[in-house]
Structure formats: C-alpha cells, structure tokens
C-alpha cells in the first residue's frame, strides 16, 4: 500500500471503520482529569478491541491483525475525523516488547496490552535524566534469581493504575552510560513501589512520580539481554515520534473545523480569518507530510531519525492551532467560561517537551539527518 492514507485499496477498510465509529464512538466528552479520564479511556480501549481495531499492524500471533502500518494511520485518521477520543497509545511500548522481548514475554504480555485487560506505564525519565535519558541512575542489583531495584522515575503516565511498568534501570554502573542500562518488566503490585501524582499546569494528574525502594524483580523480567536497555528505549521513542503514531492530523483538522464553524457563527474580523487560514495551511501541510512519510515508511523497520522531522512539524501545528483557538475565544477561557479550551491550550505546551524536546529533536535532525558536526 504505497499511496499513503488516500490509497484506494484502503477505502473498504475505511468505510467499515467509519460505520463502526458512527455507532460506537462515545458521545460524552472526555473527562478533563485524572482517574475519571483513565476509566473513560479504559472503556474506550476495550470497545476498540472488541471492534477489532487494536493491533491492526501487529502480528496475528500476538493478538494483532497483521496489516501494513498505514492501517494504524487510517484508524487515527478516522478517529480524529469522527471526533472520537484518541486510540490508546499501546504501540510505543508494545513495539519495544515485540522487537526485543522473548517469545514468552510477547505471548504473555502483548495480547492483554492490546485488549486493555492490563495497563502499562513507561518508567524512563528521572529527575536527573530528562533530555539526557542515558544518565538515568535507578539501580538494579542482581541478587541470585532477582534484581533489587532502587531509584525514582518521573513523568510516568498512568502509573497510578498500571499493572506493569517497562522500567529502564542501570544494571552495570561500570559500563559506558549507554551500555549499562537494561529494561525490566516490573509488576506494579510489587512491594516497595510508591506512586505520587503530579499536578500539571492544566490541573490534570496524568503524570506521576514513582519511587522504587528495594523492589524485587525476577531475573527473567529482563527484556532482551542485560545491557540492551538503551536500544529498547530508542525503539520505543522511535515509534513515539513516527508518522503512524503522531499522524493524528485529522484531529487537528477537526479542531480547526470547529473553530471555523464558531467563527462563522459569531462573525470574526479579517485578522482572525487570516489566522484561521494560516492554521488551515499548517494542518493541510502536516497531513500531506504524514502521508508522504507513511508512503516512504518501510513496514516492520524501526522508525529512524526522520521521525524527528515529523514530530517537529506536528508540534508546530498543534501549538499554532491552540494559539489560534485561544485568540479566537478571547476572554472566555480566561474568565471561567471554556475550561476545555484553556486546558487543551496549556496541554499543547507539552508537545515540544514530551517524547524528546524540540531542542533534542533538532539536534537529531542536524547531526543525524543533515550530517552536521557533532556538538561539543
């Protein structure tokens, strides 16, 4: 399927999906905060799974349907168009298990990750290891048949209700920093794990701090081999930046359509009309770009540094749209009327920080795509 999102061979799939969404997409809006939103998300996840829409590009052996990656993008496209909530982002973490896990780990964990029966979180960042992820210091010491884990993670989405954590730990403090890291699958019910929610700038509590004190993890919980942690982390973030996953441009198109409808109803001045036209240009450009990226993408290959271009462009679009929205709504969200507009705007600031800051993405683009000399 090389025609990208508009390939005619996808039409039947698209129609089937559209009909399903019309019937099953939740009508009530996504709750703004914490646990309530998580419960809502869990119901939506199970509903998508029952409909057969989870794991479209995953191997059938692990609960997927074995389609090319573009089907995931079509799913995101149609979900956005329907104004339905985003599909759960199981792909980042799941792909790491798929590429690097043992056969036993894949069979044990992937089907329940896809179905939503078990919830996962991603223990990567630490207070002292943000952009410099390889500086992480959470330690795992091997004691016979188990590791003893001590340390702290931060920005861990869903940790408060997760069943499992893909945890990056330092297993070899004497190795160079990128080589001494391993990835463990940790049962979040293990004694010694404490989760504390972080209140974000929009009042939400999506993220958490997670503390590990003498947490015992069986030795067979290592993903891949000890020391493979960095490679596994890069696979995960590669998918996080890749077009099929960020290619949610139709959500932007829908938001823009809502803004235009509002502007039509209320009447706007020339400057606001031009601001909306500019946002429209950016949304269409992103859609064309995601489409081209998908057409070039080699199915099955781990996304490379070109994903950073996609992420930077997506970030520009998201942040421009929310600026446009805030400007259009004017005083309302600032004076207690339009909480969701304000919340969405505030959250859009994360686009240039989460999954690798825009500064880190630009360094990747400069050094790895453009071949510029390495910075000091």
């Amino acid at each position: 399927v090389t025609g990208g999102l508009d390939d005619p061979r996808l039409a039947e799939f698209r129609n089937e999906l559209r009909a399903w969404l019309a019937e099953h997409a939740p009508r009530e809006p996504v709750p703004l905060h914490g646990e309530e939103r998580a419960r809502y998300g869990a119901v939506w996840h199970r509903s998508l799974h029952q409909g057969g829409w989870m794991g479209l590009s995953w191997p059938e052996a692990y609960g997927g349907r074995g389609f090319p990656a573009v089907y995931e993008a079509v799913l995101n496209d149609e979900i956005g168009r329907a104004g339905a909530p985003a599909a759960p982002h199981v792909g980042f973490l799941g792909r790491a298990l798929l590429h690097h896990g043992t056969e036993g780990q894949r069979r044990r964990f992937l089907p329940s990750l896809l179905s939503g029966e078990e919830v996962w979180c991603q223990g990567f960042s630490e207070p002292g290891a943000g952009s410099d992820l390889a500086a992480l210091s959470t330690r795992a010491v091997l004691l016979g048949d188990h590791y003893l884990v001590n340390g702290q993670k931060i920005w861990t989405s869903d940790a408060a209700w997760a069943d499992w954590c893909l945890l990056l730990v330092r297993t070899d403090p004497d190795a160079p920093k990128h080589r001494g890291i391993s990835a463990l699958v940790v049962d979040m019910a293990t004694p010694g794990i404490e989760v504390r929610p972080i209140v974000q700038i929009n009042g939400d509590t999506e993220f958490n701090e997670v503390f590990f004190t003498d947490v015992a993890v069986p030795v067979d919980a290592v993903v891949g081999a000890p020391g493979d942690g960095w490679r596994i982390a890069m696979t995960t973030v590669g998918y996080e930046r890749g077009p099929a996953d960020v290619g949610f441009s139709s959500r932007y198109a829908r938001l823009l359509a809502e803004l235009v409808a509002l502007a039509r109803a209320n009447g706007v001045d020339e400057q606001q009309r031009l601001a909306l036209a500019r946002a429209h240009v950016q949304v269409e450009v992103l859609r064309a770009h995601v489409n081209r990226s998908l057409a070039r993408r080699d199915d099955g290959a781990v996304p490379g540094p070109e994903g950073s271009v996609d992420k930077l462009l997506s970030t520009r679009t998201e942040q421009l749209l929310h600026h446009t929205a805030m400007d259009l709504f004017g005083a309302a969200p600032l004076t207690g009327d339009g909480a969701e507009v304000l919340s969405a705007y505030l959250y859009s600031r994360a686009a240039s920080i989460a999954g690798g800051t825009s500064q880190i993405q630009r360094t990747i683009v400069a050094e790895r795509l453009m071949g510029m000399p390495r910075s000091g």
Partner: protein, 323 residues
C-alpha cells in the same frame, strides 16, 4: 501514480544539467520543455508530478534556463482550442522556449505586463504566452527589465499580442492550480539548495577552534529549516498528485495551500542560509543571494502567502458567508 524509477531518471538528468551548467538547448533536447504535453502532440506525456520534479531540481542550481516559463506556456496552450495553438505548440516541441505573461503585480496570468522567464532563451525574439478574457495570446517580449532573480529574465510586454485560441474558465482555473504547483516546486528546490550549501559551509567554517556547524545555535536554526523544506516538499507533491488524478477541487485547494506555504517558507529558508554564512553571505561572490533572489520572485508569482491566505479564507474556509 508515482513511479520511483522514472523519478530517479528525471532527478539524475536534472542533476547532470545543474552540475554541467547546461543551457536551454540541452534541457530541450532531453524533451523536458514539453515534458507535460500529451505524447500524441509530441510531448513527453508526463504528469504534473514529473514537471514539478524538474522545476524543483533545476531550481537547485539555480540554472538560468526558462523551464518554468516554458512548462507553464505549454500547459496553457494545451488547454486551449484553436488552430493556431497547434502551430505554437509545434515550435515549442521543436525546442523553442517560451516565457509566460503576467500582470505587473505578478499575481496572475495576463496578455500584457511582464514576460517571465526570458533568460537563457538564446538570440532572437523571445516568445511569450499569456491569456486574457478567455483568449490565449502570444507576443514577443519587449525591453528586458532588471529583475531581482539573476537566473530568470523578465521583459515588458506592451503590445503586439496575437490571439491563438480560446480557453474556458474551468481550464484556466486548472492551469492556475498547475502554475502555483510548479512555482511551489521551484521554491522547494531553491530552499533545498540554499540550505544544503549553508550546511556544507557550516561544516567547513571554523570559529572558536570548531566548525560553526557544531554549535547548537546554528544546528537548531538549520534543523528548523529542514523541517520547513520537507513540509514544503510534501504539500507540493500532494498538490501535483491531485492534479494528476484530475481531482480539480482538491488540486485547487492544495495548490493554494502549497503556494501559500512555499512562498513564506522560501524567503525564510533562503534568509536563514545567508545567516548561516554570516558576513560572507552578504557578498555578491557567495551563492546565497542567488537563491534568495530566486525565492523573492517565485513567492510573488501567482500570489504570495498574504494574497493566498485571503483567497483560502474567502473562497474556501468562509465560502458560503461571502466576502
């Protein structure tokens, strides 16, 4: 539908033209002047995608050959009816280049005003093709104008116009979509070349004992430009593909979006390239200003971003409201 091997052949040929400083005769001999014309009429039978690809690649030089003027003239003539159209097309199939006539504002095609793309046409009178009130016209270009773009000649067209055929509004609209797309591609090639050259310079030029390209301030600037160039390329290809699948409404809208985006990006990226060069970028000797100059002209041709954003707002986003 896009064919990767054919794309590679086109790109390879264009790169050789650029590397060897080819002249119009070389480009015409390869059949590129009439690349988009039906094979039955002596052309290459290629789509907008391929024509845009040639425009993009030749702009990288930038090569002072009138490819864009000729490609636009050929497409305009091919959409017209009338006995004399065939005669003019035959001359272009034979390797003669053509300029395209636009209003003095550069905003739209016209019968008098400025003939664009007269450089590199060789000796003799430069043919120019334009349009007015449903008539496709030809004229000979008059006095040369001292334009900003050192690689694209301009000349006044004040009279001596001869009608060669008729074109309906729908075909003229389709041609305009094509023109915006080809100019967008020209801007993509211009941006790409300016950025590549600036990045290469940043890898050589040393200050503080290190290549300036190793400084994050310079890297971040360049990386942002690459994002812009890749985005510009994506939307330009999308517009060309819409033309090739005869999705005329999509083509009109996407070509507006592409030209609006590329017009703004073209100036930004070529200015950033000058910044990366620093003081050398301000000299005539440095190639950076050639790309900036080319971008300045291309961004005005058939509308810059301000004009086109207004068109999008009035004609698309707020269409039913009127304006």
């Amino acid at each position: 539908v896009a064919s990767a091997p054919q794309d590679e052949l086109i790109v390879g040929a264009c790169r050789r033209f650029v590397d060897h400083g080819a002249e119009w005769a070389d480009v015409a001999d390869a059949g590129f002047g009439v690349l988009g014309l039906d094979a039955a009429r002596g052309g290459g039978g290629a789509g907008a995608r391929e024509v845009a690809l040639v425009a993009e690649e030749l702009a990288r030089g930038p090569l002072p050959v009138p490819f864009v003027g000729t490609a636009l003239a050929v497409d305009l003539l091919a959409r017209a009816d009338g006995g004399d159209v065939t005669e003019v097309l035959a001359a272009l199939v034979g390797g003669r280049p053509s300029a395209i006539i636009v209003e003095r504002t550069l905003g739209r095609v016209a019968a008098t005003g400025i003939a664009v793309d007269t450089a590199g046409a060789g000796d003799g009178e430069v043919l120019a093709v334009g349009c007015r009130d449903g008539e496709v016209v030809v004229a000979f270009a008059g006095d040369p104008l001292e334009g900003v773009d050192l690689t694209r000649g301009l000349a006044a067209v004040t009279g001596g116009i001869e009608s060669v055929g008729r074109i309906d509004d729908r075909e003229l609209a389709n041609w305009t979509s094509f023109a915006r797309t080809v100019l967008s591609a020209d801007l993509v090639g211009t941006m790409q070349a300016a950025l590549e050259a600036a990045v290469a310079h940043a890898g050589d030029r040393e200050q503080f004992g290190r290549p300036v390209g190793s400084f994050q301030a310079v890297q971040q600037l360049c990386a942002d430009q690459l994002v812009t160039v890749e985005a510009a390329r994506s939307i330009t290809r999308a517009a060309a593909d819409a033309i090739d699948r005869s999705a005329t409404a999509d083509a009109e809208e996407l070509s507006l979006v592409a030209k609006a985006y590329c017009s703004e990006a073209g100036r930004d990226v070529t200015e950033a390239a000058i910044q990366v060069w620093g003081g050398i970028g301000m000299t005539w000797e440095c190639p950076a200003h050639r790309w900036l100059r080319r971008a300045l002209l291309a961004r005005q041709l058939f509308g810059d971003e301000s004009t086109l954003l207004r068109t999008l707002a009035d004609g698309h986003l707020f269409a039913e409201m009127g304006s």
